[in-house]
């Protein structure tokens, strides 16, 4: 019998139903992956939590106009244009930075992709690490809030690298927060782990001029117009090759690092490629490689220069890594909206910035040979935020900070936007989704991850691994697939 995409989806759905927690089944990419056009998957997490009310509901104005337009996309919020973001007047007068974002797209991205408006983050704590872990593994979890906490089930990075035998530079996790999400690129699953982990980088920590400034040993800089020489790291490919050659002489005489110490190590070839990427940025005498003004998103400083926010720097460098390495798997965690814990207005103005970043990413994909027409992009909140204000920094519009983690409907009602050649454009809010153990009756966060894995041919492996751990696997979101 021919193995069609439909029959695969049905098979994956049966496996994902969790009816039988059989032995781990490892499948190859062959068959399933060939049924889809996407050759790579990018998952962007609007981390820190984004409520349905402010995003799709646009209750405080159209906060993400390039992705979602300006007409509310969920019921209960009217059907008129939402208008500008409602920043409190006293905040706008004294604290609001000069946000720079391009004019919204004439046709919002959701009209070109599949928008599922009623996704449920159904289980697990609505916290950063738990939500982030869910988005990379498709496993609801309650891992510890520690920087070294790993996911119980194999991640997308591990599934891909183990089955496709690709280098670590073929699977990237790029996150705004240095350190915090770094452990999520590998699981503690005994058959996976660090040897199959992806590369991880936090551009806000790494990609800053502070490295060449400190390494230069200079303690002052004279600005002399066009003659100004900014501190850089001088290097050449020939010297890097020489260093590697000589270091190999020494390494050949010393014991290797143990392979079972739980520490991720890239291969020599991976590190060579990453060092080349870093060196090109740190050797740029204009500093434009850290963040070019023409990126067009950020905060305008008093000197008229555009500065990157954490999310902007993260997305800009994610795009550079994407263009340099053309990875098969990339997960990007934005997190500036998490300012909402203490500052509701910052939460609001961070959303158009995240929106512009995601739009820029999609434009980059569409304008890059090797990415266009073969990249699937999935965008979704890491989780939501609680329904009730926490009273911090109240503004004149009666709003204050919002936390997440309590687990109410505000925390758990999210959405998903899927763009790419395999998705059927439309707005979806299906109900009656059935699965043993599923009480939501809706598509869930784990389904988005299962769908991403399925596009790459790893759906069955993800389902069987999760079932083997007595965890409920996600379902493939068949409704949205073309």
């Amino acid at each position: 019998m021919a193995f069609t995409r439909r029959s695969f989806l049905r098979a994956a759905g049966v496996a994902a139903a969790g009816a039988a927690a059989g032995p781990l089944i490892r499948t190859s990419r062959a068959g399933a992956a060939g049924a889809f056009k996407a050759k790579r998957i990018i998952v962007v997490s609007v981390a820190g939590g984004l409520r349905l009310r402010e995003s799709l509901g646009m209750a405080e104005g159209a906060t993400m106009p390039s992705m979602l337009g300006d007409i509310p996309l969920v019921s209960g919020y009217g059907d008129a244009a939402a208008g500008a973001v409602k920043i409190a007047p006293e905040y706008a007068a004294s604290m609001l930075p000069d946000i720079v974002v391009p004019a919204p797209r004439a046709v919002p991205l959701y009209a070109e992709g599949a928008l599922v408006t009623n996704v449920r983050y159904a289980e697990g704590a609505p916290g950063h690490l738990q939500g982030g872990a869910c988005l990379v593994s498709g496993a609801y979890n309650n891992i510890d809030n520690r920087a070294d906490a790993h996911v119980p089930a194999p991640t997308l990075f591990e599934l891909h690298r183990r089955q496709a035998n690709t280098p670590a530079t073929d699977a990237w996790y790029v996150s705004n927060v240095p350190g915090f999400y770094r452990a999520l690129q590998t699981s503690v699953h005994p058959e996976y782990g660090p040897r199959f982990g992806g590369s991880w980088m936090s551009p806000t920590g790494v990609m800053t001029p502070i490295v060449p400034i400190v390494a230069s040993g200079e303690r002052s800089l004279t600005l002399a117009g066009a003659e100004t020489q900014l501190p850089i790291v001088r290097d050449s490919a020939d010297e890097r090759d020489a260093v590697r050659r000589l270091a190999a002489v020494l390494d050949g005489n010393s014991a290797p690092y143990p392979g079972d110490d739980g520490i991720f190590r890239s291969s020599a070839a991976d590190n060579q490629a990453i060092e080349g990427h870093l060196a090109s940025i740190f050797a740029d005498p204009t500093y434009r490689s850290f963040f070019p003004q023409e990126y067009g998103i950020g905060i305008r400083g008093t000197d008229g220069q555009l500065d990157a926010t954490g999310d902007v720097a993260t997305m800009y460098h994610a795009e550079q890594l994407l263009k340099t390495f053309l990875p098969t798997v990339m997960v990007v965690s934005l997190i500036d909206v998490d300012a909402c814990h203490d500052d509701f207005n910052a939460y609001l103005y961070s959303q158009p910035v995240a929106d512009a970043c995601i739009r820029h990413l999609w434009d980059t994909i569409q304008s890059t040979e090797g990415l266009r027409d073969e990249t699937a992009l999935i965008v979704m909140p890491e989780h939501g935020r609680q329904l009730a204000f926490n009273g911090k920094n109240p503004d004149s519009l009666g709003r204050s900070g919002l936390d997440h983690g309590g687990g109410d409907d505000g925390d758990r009602d999210v959405w998903m936007l899927a763009l790419g050649p395999d998705f059927k454009p439309g707005v979806y809010d299906p109900t009656g989704i059935e699965q043993t153990g599923r009480t939501s009756g809706r598509y869930e966060t784990i389904d988005a991850v299962m769908t991403a894995a399925t596009l790459l041919g790893y759906g069955e492996a993800m389902a069987s691994n999760l079932s083997g751990l007595d965890m409920r696997p996600g379902l493939v979101m068949e409704d949205i697939l073309a």
């Binding site: 670590a168 240095p178 350190g179 690129q185 982990g197 590369s199 991880w200 980088m201 936090s202 551009p203 806000t204 920590g205 790494v206 502070i210 490295v211 060449p212 400034i213 400190v214 390494a215 230069s216 040993g217 200079e218 303690r219 002052s220 800089l221 004279t222 600005l223 117009g225 790291v233 001088r234 290097d235 020939d238 010297e239 890097r240 020489a242 260093v243 590697r244 050659r245 000589l246 270091a247 020494l250 390494d251 010393s254 014991a255 290797p256 690092y257 143990p258 110490d261 520490i263 991720f264 190590r265 890239s266 991976d270 590190n271 060579q272 990453i274 060092e275 870093l278 060196a279 740190f282």
Partner: protein, 183 residues
């Protein structure tokens, strides 16, 4: 002088002890436990230096000082101060290194920067008249040992055959080595 009776008593005690111990020794030769002493290739598995340890080590070994904190001053063409910001060498570099999961590539970039700094004081290749002595000195400085015969030969051969091998690349290679990067 011990009396005869006391000597007899000790003798009888010794005989009694022998009577107890001899059967316990068995009637065969003592069987020694086999001891594993390891092979020549069984060196201790290295443990990587933490980012903090690496930064302190490279400052100490290359610059001869600990990382410092200072104000970085920005001046105009006339020498007037425009601005200043605080630099904490240790904290800034460790923070950067904490932003990548395998730090080897960024450690290499930092080493490239520091070895180029005037403070490192590395000579130009043309200033080194005796490459063997230079390489040996750098082994002492960074690894605390003599180079092996084969190591020295390999370094010097590459020094002579490649323009890219110079004092800076020699030091960068030593810093990049697993021996230097581990404890």
């Amino acid at each position: 002088m011990a009396s005869l009776s006391s000597r007899l008593a000790r003798t009888s005690m010794f005989a009694a002890a022998l009577a107890v111990l001899l059967p316990a020794c068995g009637d065969g030769a003592y069987q020694f436990q086999e001891v594993t002493v390891g092979g020549e290739g069984d060196a201790r598995a290295p443990v990587a230096r933490s980012n903090s340890q690496f930064v302190r080590a490279i400052y100490s070994d290359l610059l001869g000082r600990a990382p410092e904190s200072y104000d970085f001053v920005v001046l105009d063409a006339q020498g007037n101060e425009l601005s200043r910001f605080a630099v904490d060498e240790q904290r800034f570099l460790v923070s950067a290194l904490d932003g990548i999961n395998d730090t080897d590539p960024l450690r290499a970039v930092i080493a490239a920067g520091l070895t180029s700094s005037p403070e490192a004081g590395l000579p130009d290749k043309s200033e080194v008249s005796d490459p063997e002595a230079f390489v040996t000195d750098q082994f002492h400085r960074f690894l605390g040992r003599d180079p092996g015969t084969w190591e020295l030969a390999a370094f010097v051969a590459d020094w002579k055959s490649s323009d890219a091998v110079n004092p800076r690349t020699v030091v960068r290679a030593l810093i990049a080595s697993r021996e230097y990067q581990s404890q």
